[in-house]
């Protein structure tokens, strides 16, 4: 059913009793053209674009828990396309453009809000680095503005400009960046894919692969054996685990990242702000909670919860940036398990096994990439060649020395 003002009003008049479920909770069929493992944002978007762009709708998304229970429902909802390196920029900008048209396309309110993302700089060196990044963005046709101190002050007068150690000198602003309601992205893609015939199968964990020689021909799951011509992995923090079932080792470590929400407050922060002298980013949800986060905990983890030193570190970042935050109480915090890759950039590629495809290594920045990742992964699955926006994101780039290392940290995942 199409959502519209009319449907809203007529359901409201009927007491909102007769809304239908937004998508079909399907039982698994014995075979499909494509199986997507993982019902997070990337898996659901992949299934949707397979159906929409390539007419491949005999597709199942297999999710071991419930859709939206992974990182897609755990992130701090920031979207932007302010990358530096040519291997990354086209994908994140494709994604940004898809966000801009997403709600009309899938007829679902994902609360896409282009409220601007501002990265602050606190030293001359950092200003130069941001100027370079802004120039790289503009050369790719992406909006970027370098603000001086007064420019920042006009937007956010309440920041701590004269902090003795890290005075704010200015910032790099991407006005088209912003936030998107994360759960709605999972539900919206699920509904749009389901409408086009995709089966979304929950409580269905993949436990092994069916193999004929070097070809993958399906999966074993907790709900039985399912065959498919192609199997696509989009399991985020569990990529190594699932790849190991096919005998593959990946250039990935799983790490935990925490997120925090304050009690609901009146509107104070109109956009997204990141502190450049530590790692701290903050925005305010439409419900009023301040949503913020910082560094990953820094050690391998599958625990989906972090430790207190990072809580302290994140709160210190917040206090350094905007001391007023000290008046607010922290309401809740949680963790998610991310696939930190060896160069900090994602992998969207075939694998050494025929019929098995990989979408992984999104680190802590994969939410913004959800639409683009789905679109280019669907292209790879349907066309057997990389999408023009994702030609550099190969699995063999590590062995070949073609890493895409935005931070220049080398093969040390906890530093990306």
């Amino acid at each position: 059913m199409r959502y519209s003002l009319l449907s809203l009003v007529s359901h409201a008049l009927g007491g909102n009793r007769d809304w239908k479920p937004a998508w079909r909770d399907a039982a698994p069929q014995p075979r499909y053209d494509v199986i997507v493992i993982g019902g997070g944002g990337h898996g659901l978007a992949t299934a949707y674009y397979l159906a929409r762009d390539y007419g491949i709708a005999n597709v199942a998304v297999l999710e071991r828990g419930w859709i939206g229970g992974g990182n897609v429902g755990r992130n701090t909802t920031i979207v932007r396309s302010n990358y530096l390196l040519p291997g990354n920029i086209p994908l994140y900008e494709l994604s940004m453009q898809l966000w801009e048209g997403l709600e009309r396309d899938i007829n679902y309110n994902a609360m896409v809000s282009q409220r601007g993302v501002l990265n602050l700089y606190h030293s001359d060196g950092q200003r130069d680095a941001y100027a370079r990044r802004g120039n790289a963005m503009r050369l790719h046709g992406i909006d970027a503005e370098l603000l001086d101190r007064e420019g920042v002050r006009r937007l956010y007068p309440f920041l701590n400009f004269d902090q003795a150690r890290f005075p704010i000198q200015g910032g790099l602003l991407q006005r088209r960046g912003g936030t998107v309601r994360h759960d709605a992205v999972a539900w919206g893609y699920a509904r749009a894919a389901s409408d086009r015939g995709v089966d979304i199968v929950q409580n269905c964990a993949v436990t092994g692969f069916l193999r004929e020689g070097d070809r993958i021909t399906g999966v074993e799951t907790t709900r039985g054996t399912i065959r498919a011509k192609k199997v696509a992995m989009a399991v985020a923090g569990h990529s190594s685990e699932v790849a190991a079932m096919a005998g593959l080792r990946l250039p990935i470590e799983s790490h935990v990242l925490q997120a925090f929400v304050s009690e609901g407050l009146k509107p104070i922060i109109p956009g997204v702000i990141t502190f450049g002298a530590g790692h701290f980013y903050i925005s305010q949800s439409d419900k009023g909670g301040l949503v913020f986060g910082g560094d990953i905990d820094g050690y391998n983890s599958y625990a989906q919860r972090g430790n207190l030193p990072v809580v302290e570190d994140v709160c210190e970042g917040g206090m350094a940036l905007m001391p007023a935050i000290g008046r607010a109480r922290l309401l809740r915090s949680w963790g998610g398990i991310m696939d930190m890759s060896m160069d900090g950039s994602p992998i969207i590629d075939r694998t050494p096994l025929d019929g098995l495809y990989l979408n992984a290594g999104w680190c802590y920045g994969g939410f913004k990439a959800t639409p683009g990742s789905g679109a280019v992964f669907a292209h790879l699955l349907a066309r057997e060649e990389p999408h023009p926006a994702a030609t550099a994101l190969t699995l063999d780039r590590f062995a070949q020395g073609r890493v895409i290392d935005e931070k220049g940290q080398g093969a040390q995942p906890n530093l990306h």
Partner: protein, 87 residues
């Protein structure tokens, strides 16, 4: 998370720097494929794992710490120096 340093006793993990899996061993020079495997590929297990931690704000020793990645329980630590001999 506390790490039982053989020199300093149980200390908060924030005193340590993390390197990662202790299993990979540097191959002989000249074998590019083995070197790429060593530098980039990891088992990344969900479960017990031996990893290298550096006691930066303590005795500055490198340790091999045994820790479960599913619940962060630390079950032991020994000096990394001389581990080739004991392994």
């Amino acid at each position: 998370m506390r790490i039982p340093c053989p020199y300093c006793g149980p200390r908060d993990s924030s005193e340590f720097a993390y390197l990662g899996d202790a299993a990979p061993r540097r191959p002989a020079d000249g074998d590019a494929a083995a070197m790429a495997t060593y530098v980039y590929l990891r088992d990344n297990p969900a479960g017990p794992m031996e990893e290298l931690w550096y006691h930066a704000y303590g005795c500055r020793a490198w340790l091999v710490v045994r820790r479960d990645t599913r619940d962060h329980a630390v079950t032991g630590a020994r000096l990394a120096a001389g581990r080739e001999a004991s392994a």
